[in-house]
């Protein structure tokens, strides 16, 4: 296997192949970043809705609850297929990248929503009660009382989710979104050995994921330390 790889390497390392791989890596990063940015925004709204106390919000509260539960319990691939065929059913010609982006956003919102809710809820009940006594509204409570304490709990798992999500987006290749895994398949179809094409894809994923994972660990340790220090 090693001999074939060495033999193919000069043919593999051409400018256009490398450009293709770089673009694919950017697409992977863009897809996961988009998912996480939308995920943070929608996830925050979902978490907020689930914390509302009044009866008026009950239907919305149920919707937010069901949304998070459903999308966390359906595999990425199935959600992807559903989005793909749902877009097809609308009859509009939507680019595959958009289908991928919508899927990723749907899933990330559910997961990040749960992370944010967990973080907000972890702030001691007394703090919420104290804010209520001061006549704070729910947005004010979250903005001025809960979030300043909760973000340290939310950030490490949210970042961990982001790192994990980069790897999950590999499945978007299955509907033909041109990202890193798809690039590996293209290179393999171009005649390069599977060991070389998928091996290099594995290395690129590693090069993206490893520094981020290390940074996440660092973040976790630092925030844990500062939290420990203050109490």
């Amino acid at each position: 296997m090693l001999a074939t790889i060495l033999e193919e390497l000069p043919r593999f390392l051409t400018y256009y192949n490398l450009l293709f791989l770089a673009q694919a890596a950017l697409a992977t990063l863009a897809l996961s970043a988009f998912g996480c940015i939308v995920g943070v925004i929608v996830g925050f709204v979902l978490a907020f809705v689930r914390l509302t106390p009044s009866r008026l919000w009950l239907p919305l509260r149920w919707f937010a609850f069901l949304y998070t539960e459903i999308f966390r319990r359906v595999p990425f691939l199935v959600t992807l297929m559903l989005c793909f065929f749902a877009f097809q059913a609308t009859g509009y010609d939507v680019p595959l990248a958009v289908v991928g982006a919508v899927t990723v956003a749907l899933i990330a919102s559910a997961f990040i929503g749960e992370i944010i809710r967990g973080g907000l809820v972890s702030v001691h009940r007394n703090q919420w009660d104290a804010a209520a006594t001061m006549n704070f509204t729910l947005p004010q409570t979250i903005r001025h009382v809960v979030l300043p304490q909760a973000w340290k709990i939310i950030l490490p798992p949210a970042f961990g989710f982001f790192v994990m999500f980069i790897k999950d987006t590999a499945l978007a290749s299955q509907i033909g979104v041109i990202e890193l895994t798809y690039a590996g398949k293209v290179l393999n179809n171009k005649g390069f050995s599977a060991a070389l094409s998928f091996g290099s894809i594995l290395l690129i994923y590693f090069a993206i994921s490893y520094p981020l994972a290390r940074f996440g660990k660092h973040l976790e340790n630092r925030l844990a330390a500062s939290r420990h220090h203050r109490t």
Partner: protein, 224 residues
């Protein structure tokens, strides 16, 4: 958008989806058990073994936790035949998932190994517990309580992860859904039913696991 839902065409295929769900569960359980063996062994070596072995295990864990499972299985399925190792798609998926699970479970198990307390073991020794009794009555209940929630969480994640076996043509739940889709062309119907089955599957697993955790290990697991 005037899509007419026709679930009627799907019902005859429901037994096949159930069969697929069983295959999914089978892959998840097999890979989880294999991964648990690898994870426990690796964590034990990392905690008690020689430096070099710990270092090699570190490489294994970092590599497998930082690359996508899908591409790992691609590599096993398409690159290994060049070396003369021909795997069936089921075997490739199973091996890939087991190795991947092994890496994640090493991390989880290591936390368990580290949570054991020397003072507890010393206390047990003073009370005249034999080594086996120490493990059975002191270490295991404690470690199981710490480990049960993350382990069951990992099992649920892996149950969902089995869906990528469909990419390689294994006829588990997603694979069956894809087959039925190409037979009936009722795409949205098939995949919503498959999604519903996944929800049921993971809910049943969550409830079962949290009950086991509560009664066997007194672990406080909420529904995952």
């Amino acid at each position: 958008m005037n899509y007419v839902f026709q679930y009627g065409q799907i019902w005859p295929f429901l037994p096949r989806l159930f069969d697929g769900a069983l295959v999914s569960l089978q892959i998840a359980i097999l890979a989880f058990c294999g991964g648990l063996l690898i994870g426990t062994a690796c964590a034990a070596v990392k905690t008690f073994g020689p430096k070099l072995a710990a270092w090699l295990i570190d490489i294994y864990v970092t590599f497998f936790t930082n690359t996508p499972q899908l591409v790992q299985i691609y590599f096993l399925y398409f690159a290994l035949p060049d070396m003369g190792i021909l795997l069936t798609s089921f075997a490739a998926v199973l091996i890939g998932m087991t190795l991947n699970a092994g890496a994640y479970l090493t991390e989880i198990q290591r936390a368990g190994f580290e949570s054991r307390r020397v003072s507890e073991m010393e206390a047990a020794e003073v009370l005249g517990f034999s080594r086996l009794q120490q493990i059975r009555y002191v270490i295991l209940p404690h470690v199981a309580r710490v480990l049960f929630p993350p382990l069951s969480n990992q099992f649920i994640i892996m149950t969902l992860g089995t869906s990528m076996a469909a990419v390689f043509g294994v006829e588990e739940l997603t694979g069956q859904a894809m087959n039925i889709n190409s037979q009936t062309f009722r795409s949205i119907e098939v995949f919503t039913v498959a999604a519903g089955l996944y929800i049921v599957l993971t809910l049943v697993a969550s409830v079962a696991l949290s009950l086991i955790g509560r009664f066997a290990f007194r672990a406080r697991t909420g529904l995952i």
